[in-house]
Amino acid sequence: MTSTGIGARVPRKEDQRFITGNGNYTDDINLPKQTYAYFVRSPHAHAKLGRINTKAAEAAPGVVAVLTGKDVEKDGVGGLICGWMIHSKDGSPMNAGPHPILAHGKVRYVGDHVAVVVAETQAQAKAAAELVEVSYKVLPAVADTAGATSAKAEVHDGIANNLVYNWSIGEEDAVNAAFDSAAHVTSLDLVNNRLAPNAMEPRAAIGAFDPGTDSYTLYTTSQNPHVARLVLSAFIGIAPEHKLRVIAPDVGGGFGSKIFIYAEETVCVWASRKVGRPIKWTGGRDEAFLADAHGRDHVTTAEAAMDADGKIQALRVKTTANMGAYLSTFASCVPTYLYATLLSGQYAIPQIYAEVDAVYTNTAPVDAYRGAGRPEATYVVERIVETAAREMGIDPAEFRSRNFVREFPHQTPVIMCYDAGDYQASLDKACEMIKYGSFENRRKKSQKAGKMRGIGFSTYIEACGIAPSAAVGSLGAGVGLWESAEVRVKPTGNVEVLTGSHSHGQGHETTFAQLVSDRLGIPIDQVEIVHGDTDKVQFGMGTYGSRSGAVGMTAISKALDKVEAKARKVASHVMEAAEGDIEFKDGSFTVKGTDKAMAFGEVALAAYVAHSFPTTEIEPGLKEGAFHDPANFTFPAGCHVCEVEVDPETGVVEIVDWVAVDDFGNIINPNIVEGQVHGGIAQGVGQALTENCVYDAESGQLLSGSYMDYCMPRADNFPTFRLDFTITECPTNPLGIKGCGEAGAIAAPPAVMNAVTHAIGVKNMPMPATPMNVWNALKSSV
């Protein structure tokens, strides 16, 4: 290993520019003759759209254009799409209502796009937007997940009961039979609270049309610019793919919310041709709360059937998932194939049956958010396992041990085939670190201080490295989920790597360079990672689902294999040795048994000089590409343990200790992995203790529309996290890595809720465990 190779604790290369204000985010970019867009948004959750009078706005200072849904329709611009077809239990395809980029006929949530004002300045656009007169006929609204199917409001005309699909997985009869013969049944009603994603950088876009080349450029805050281009061209019909360049420059966090193709950037591209000038839209935080795709929002009833020894025989789950007013880009797969396929957890459960109703409501669309389905699954599994253990009087750690999967590969009853893992190892290590054996002493000590102490486990599993194209294709995905890479070696031996992955905080410029450094024996300073531009990178599927390491880096690794093979050829020619005698180590090509040697850079130069190549055998140059399609998902897993103290007078929960033992396979950069775990736990604790996206049930107004009411977790909500790792290598990629980006957010919520319910001695309470919710739970338990 070089000092900057795989496993090295290298400081992030990109941080210098980020922390010195030299990043280049979408809003930092300004094009000549640029105009500014501001969206008129619906103040109502559900209303019939009457006349839109744009005259006064058009006459306002600086206004260039005011466009509405009628203009969109006139131009034949298509609506936004949902790229994953889900079929209901009865075989019928999901009910997908229209998703226009500017409302047509109806508005369906507060914040829905009604019109766009384009003006010389942002302030002028905003001022003129207030002059757009819209007549609404307000309709009854539904915001409540559980009540959506029986609501008076019909979000999409003709879609009965607001039901998108009624989907199921597993053998219902076998599960019912297992329940009939169970020694003990545990049942829980769970709410997985809705979250607003809150990336540090709000969404932004610049659409620009070049009449000279008849082509468009879109700068956008995207996690996957190539997919954005594909959707905008092939489905929405804005422009042919080769006439649309999408650039996602530095992006300040995504957490899933920037995977999707939204109305705002689509409008900017389309309207840029109409006004003949570039159009910039920069979302405000208020707009982010209203119109970024939210996360989670499940209501679930879960039941577990155990035999007398506490071995789980079956799991039965019924979930209602809130999709919001429209199906966002990947919304449909989140509560189905990204959720129910993980309901086996780390456990050998013979039978699982899950049924999911996806419902429309008059709320912002809900889609993937850090973990996407897997946090919801883990919440169900880990809460019910903990509760079952308590009910049966079995120690929760022991209960888990009795049920762990111990042989690999392990085929679960819900599609997934786990390839490698050692769940006992992470549980044991975590128990040791938290000093599980002496918990009772700590509890007594807390009690003396007037506090109620609790401990909660979360032995989670997730599926990352998304995903084998054949597998997702058979389940309804509209795309394959491979990744591409190209390695361009410069004549002086510097290396440029083009990747289809996209970095928006993950540190790819460092970790990907470490891989190259490790393989080619050159310092990471000589490696440049290029991403986020469809004109530079040929194609890519982007970054989400903890896939950039396992899939994106494997593609780079494959391209490096080819580069090395070619370089060996060049070296053998230059050093006049048989190719089989060439050895490559630590950046040097040597000839076995001689003192002949060439540094990697010398070979690169030789490849480009090519003076004496037999060009029929060796082409000049040193540049190779590769696509990688994974053979399976990867399965990161681990054990998080949380200890809390609850103030019984106020209901305030304080997390007093946190231990995380994760198995991510091999680790490229411990700094970055630990950072991901910290950030993930922080987001998971946010969901469990503070964050809650709330709509008024009657009016559908967003009640948590700013940081005055939407409570982000802060530094004083956390103890020092104590991390450790176990390693089982992933067998399906050459690097043996699994992915780490979402683990904390997946593991944390049940760990917290298990600890809180343990502390206050209640079976169940709603998440988040806010002071009021804890106080209510305490009161009802008396």
């Binding site: 007078e649 106020t650 209901g651 809650n692 940081y707 009411d709 939407y710 409570c711 806010t770 002071p771």
Partner: protein
């Protein structure tokens, strides 16, 4: 934010003249509430008259009374050695308002004039029997805070200074809203010896108010246990996604007890 005229008068007289002459003028001190409200386009005054400069900052702290000029920032109050010595509970209250930015810009006069139900200073005024002096008169705190963002101030009346009575002992206990960290419930308990005990509650209802029942209970027995006999009704308490009326009522008792304990 909409366009507006900004004025920086040299004295109170000019400030009043500017306010009178404006279509829809508003006096601004630190601007910590007004500016965010204007940025969100929830307020659209034609004229903003910056009075922080004319009322000025300054503190006189004595054993019996503390006088603070209206333009004094929270940070100045929190850090003032005389206040820390004679009335540490007031210094602590000021040091717990908002965040460092707010404390270094927001002023006592602005906070009191705004009378946000979740603000901290109104409770201090009530508990410390404050006299609020304006360009026209002096108003007892008990008659100053009228309702939701409503005070006894007339049009174009500007607070110039606030005089607090120093208690024998006192403390302010705040339960912050988890998101905004404004007071969801705050209780300021002050024992004025022969002047009696004052208990002021912020955050819980539409306006800061005194709890006479708690004062009575503590008059005879200044202990947390004395409050066990006082029941706080949820009626009239604020309700939002963070706290029901019942929970707020419960917290009033908890915070008052904690204030009593902290007062010693």
């Amino acid at each position: 934010m909409y366009d507006f005229n900004y004025h920086r008068p040299k004295d109170v007289k000019e400030a009043v003249k500017l306010l009178k002459g404006a279509d829809d003028g508003v006096a601004m001190s630190g601007g910590m509430t007004l500016i965010p409200t204007m940025k969100q386009r929830l307020a659209a005054p034609s004229d903003v008259v910056d009075v922080a400069g004319v009322t000025g900052s300054g503190i006189k702290a004595q054993a019996k009374k503390i006088v603070i000029k209206a333009g004094t920032t929270h940070a100045e109050v929190a850090a003032h050695a005389g206040i820390q010595k004679h009335c540490p509970s007031l210094a602590a209250l000021a040091g717990g308002i908002g965040d460092p930015h707010v404390r270094n810009k927001g002023t006592i006069g602005g906070s009191i004039a705004n009378n946000d139900p979740a603000a901290d200073y109104p409770a201090a005024c009530l508990a410390l029997n404050a006299k609020i002096t304006t360009n026209r008169r002096s108003i007892d705190a008990d008659k100053f805070f009228k309702g939701l963002f409503e005070t006894a101030l007339k049009d174009n009346e500007i607070i110039t200074e606030i005089e607090f009575a120093v208690p024998k002992r006192g403390a302010y206990a705040k339960f912050p809203n988890p998101a905004s960290r404004y007071a969801m419930v705050g209780a300021y308990v002050a024992d004025h010896g022969r002047g009696g005990v004052r208990v002021a509650v912020s955050g819980a209802a539409d306006c800061a108010h005194r709890s006479k029942a708690m004062e009575k209970a503590l008059d005879g027995d200044f202990s947390a246990a004395a409050l066990d006999s006082v029941s706080v009704s949820p009626e009239g308490m604020n309700e939002d996604i963070h706290a029901s009326a019942e929970y707020r009522a419960h917290l009033v008792t908890v915070m008052a007890k904690r204030a009593v304990t902290a007062a010693g």
